[in-house]
Assembly symmetry: C2
Homo-oligomer: 444 residues x 2
């Protein structure tokens, strides 16, 4: 695998949103295999100090929603989108754990609520049921709850606002991830500087399909915290839009997890006067939504870059569909094809496999016309495109040139359907020997 | 990989159906890499000597149907189900090859028609458009048509009816297959001995979905020849039934090919008096259909046993669904999960991944109830079942026992939904390092 460490870089303390306290530590869920190194973080907490914090989430559509997914949905409902803390553990997914799993997730919520009470600005608002919960790791095993609850207690003394605290939190999200995924960004909204901090994790079991709470909706975990002031309803609306175009447009192995969850907090600590709201201030809302979407795409791409065993970062662009949904389905199917991904790993210009996957995409609203389709490789270095198929007729492919393009770490596969005007993009990686090694023996 | 050669054994000459001539040879499509061995067969022909032969086929549902798929569909229509020859090549799929590809497929048909004229009992019936055509191999490359047409001419002198001829034909189907897939079987129908011979191929790009010609419907190739007398309509009906329960219930990598085709011939050379017909003789039809289905299941399982890089043969049984379609979709989704397949390869009892795949099965008519589902491993050696989950609550799993079961070459995963009475089975294999090696560099 190519080195991936460079995707994690220090961020200046002042880049993080105001009014948040973060912590990450080791509580003993993960095995501490290499004792010459510090133990791996497996527990994290983030708290907004403001009681007027808005929160929103998108959860997996898997029928087996893990206990933390169910519980976070309930907390959002109880608080009417005003939860203001998050507790996360890695090493155990608390999924398919029956009744005990539900109780364990609630225990994590209530213990973290105590940190909200002691660290938050408690003058207004309840300090009960304020905490959303996330777990990632092995499915079907019970959490070591006692270790976790003790760990939450220990987190209390290390809660802080700068880079070090956010980094520790980001590390607590990691399972097979090879680097912590942490980003920050700011933008100006009517004279106020708005800051985003975002963390996500995920390297396998990645093909999310998430929706807002209510109907069950993707183990990709992520949290985005901002110091913008946003109404809960508009935060949910903006997050749903952003997730569809980011986390719901990536695939590593085609497996949709029981735990996928993206959470957003907006606490208003930037000093904005009124909450951003879709109805009362559509222009401000749109700026916020698009900034959130761009930030979410950056975070989602980090997951693909760290795909288990991945050596390539591949963008699959489907253009000229009659609907966005059709374009998105085709891009999703190509991105999940084992044969396409093996060919990318082998740097083999076996483009017929791409067409084959386009052809077996199911449930399209408009059938594909094989005589209209064109296919090309777009190299990441800006050099000339390579046409493979034009309107259903194969090009005579310069194999040397194809190899040049495929040897690069990044590549765009462009599929032009020639049927309509709708486009979609998916981000995916290759399928390598290392993927099989990682997943043949994940639990040991 | 475990040795697989034992799946191919000599068959007595008298076991093959009467009235068929077969041949297989090397014509130069495949590379002859190891010159210390004879060259690999890449072209085959089978002809029924009887002009009253019935024929039927199931083709891929991929939108990009390869030229031979389109042409075979046309031949079936022209002959009204009375085609009586098959020409097959391996090494090049003649898929996504535009207009030239269509012309090449027709050239193969017409040249083979000449063999029908010289070798068939030409007294009755046409000798034009009598030939079905199949190709398998790389997608997007043109056939070396001249070599193929010369090869068909050479096949003329080696056409014969016994084991050696059928074996040579079976070898002409092979791509990444590690052994030729040839079976024969006989049964008694009202005092007449009916014989089946069957060949199939496929080791990757296997997740077929095939239907009868007409609407476009799964690179798994197969041919079943029988000396029963069957009407064309009833042969198609019996084949469609059999394919749904055999070839459409296997997965190696989840990729549905552009070329998947199963063809059946019934030439009446057994000496039956009347053609088997669903309407006039439903009892005889049902006996024939069920024998055909059992034979097709045996052939389909051979493909999974030879799955690219496969070390395990796994049956996924879904029981207690409200519909066969739901049960079949869930079994299909679990069978295609990369994570489940890697865990099987690693002999890791990571059963949460199975549940996870059940949970993301799309388009079910009845949603899964997570509190009703049970899951167990059924060892192939007849020893005790291992319960993993009972009505949504995880069992305390004896990991030593789980490992014992997973170390065996065969395994059944049983998923009990507890919702209805419908069951379905799928046959799949594991995902190994060897699979990635094979498919990372397939074309060279």
């Amino acid at each position: 695998m190519p080195p991936k460490d460079h995707h994690f870089q220090p961020i200046a303390d002042e880049s993080f949103p105001q009014g948040y306290l973060a912590a990450g530590l080791y509580c003993g869920i993960k095995k501490h295999k290499d004792t010459s190194k510090p133990p791996p973080n497996d527990l994290g907490v983030v708290i907004s100090t403001s009681p007027r914090t808005a929160s929103a989430a998108c959860f997996t559509l898997n029928a087996f929603k893990a206990a933390p997914v169910v519980v976070s949905g309930e907390v959002l409902a109880i608080t009417q989108g005003r939860a203001r803390a998050l507790v996360v553990n890695s090493g155990c997914a608390n999924a398919v754990t029956g009744k005990q799993g539900m109780q364990d997730a609630w225990d994590m919520v209530r213990t973290t609520d105590c940190l909200v009470a002691t660290h938050g600005d408690g003058a207004a608002g309840s300090v009960e049921n304020q905490t959303l919960v996330m777990s990632t790791g092995v499915i079907g095993q019970l959490l070591p709850t006692e270790k976790i609850l003790q760990g939450i207690g220990k987190a209390s003394s290390s809660l802080a606002g700068g880079f070090k605290a956010w980094e520790a939190l980001a590390r607590a999200f990691m399972t097979t991830d090879t680097f912590p995924k942490l980003r920050a960004r700011s933008f100006d909204l009517n004279g106020t500087t708005i800051r985003f901090a975002g963390i996500d994790k995920g390297a396998g079991m990645i093909h999310p399909k998430m929706g807002p709470p209510g109907p069950p909706h993707a183990t990709l975990l992520g949290v985005i915290a901002t110091d913008a002031a946003v109404s809960p309803k508009s935060l949910q609306s903006a997050l749903t839009w952003a997730v569809d175009r980011s986390f719901n447009s990536i695939s590593i192995d085609g497996d949709m997890s029981t735990n996928d969850t993206i959470i957003a907090f907006a606490n208003g600590a930037s000093g904005m006067e009124a909450e951003i709201d879709e109805e009362t201030n559509p222009e401000g809302y749109k700026i916020f939504r698009d900034e959130l979407t761009g930030f979410a795409v950056d975070l989602a791409k980090l997951v693909v870059r760290d795909g288990e065993g991945a050596t390539k970062f591949v963008t699959v662009s489907v253009e000229g569909a009659t609907s966005y949904t059709d374009a998105h389905k085709i891009a999703s199917t190509v991105s999940a094809s084992s044969l396409v991904k093996c060919a990318l790993y082998g740097e083999d210009a076996n483009w017929g496999r791409i067409l084959c996957a386009v052809g077996y995409t199911s449930s399209l609203s408009t059938p594909i016309d094989p005589t209209k389709i064109s296919l090309s490789f777009i190299p990441a270095d800006g050099s000339e495109h390579l046409k493979l198929l034009t309107k259903g007729e194969p090009e005579i492919v310069d194999e040397v040139r194809a190899k040049q393009i495929l040897e690069q770490e990044e590549l765009e596969i462009r599929i032009e359907l020639g049927m309509g005007k709708e486009n979609a993009q998916y981000y995916t990686c290759d399928l390598s020997h290392e993927y099989v090694t990682i997943n043949g023996d994940y639990r040991s």
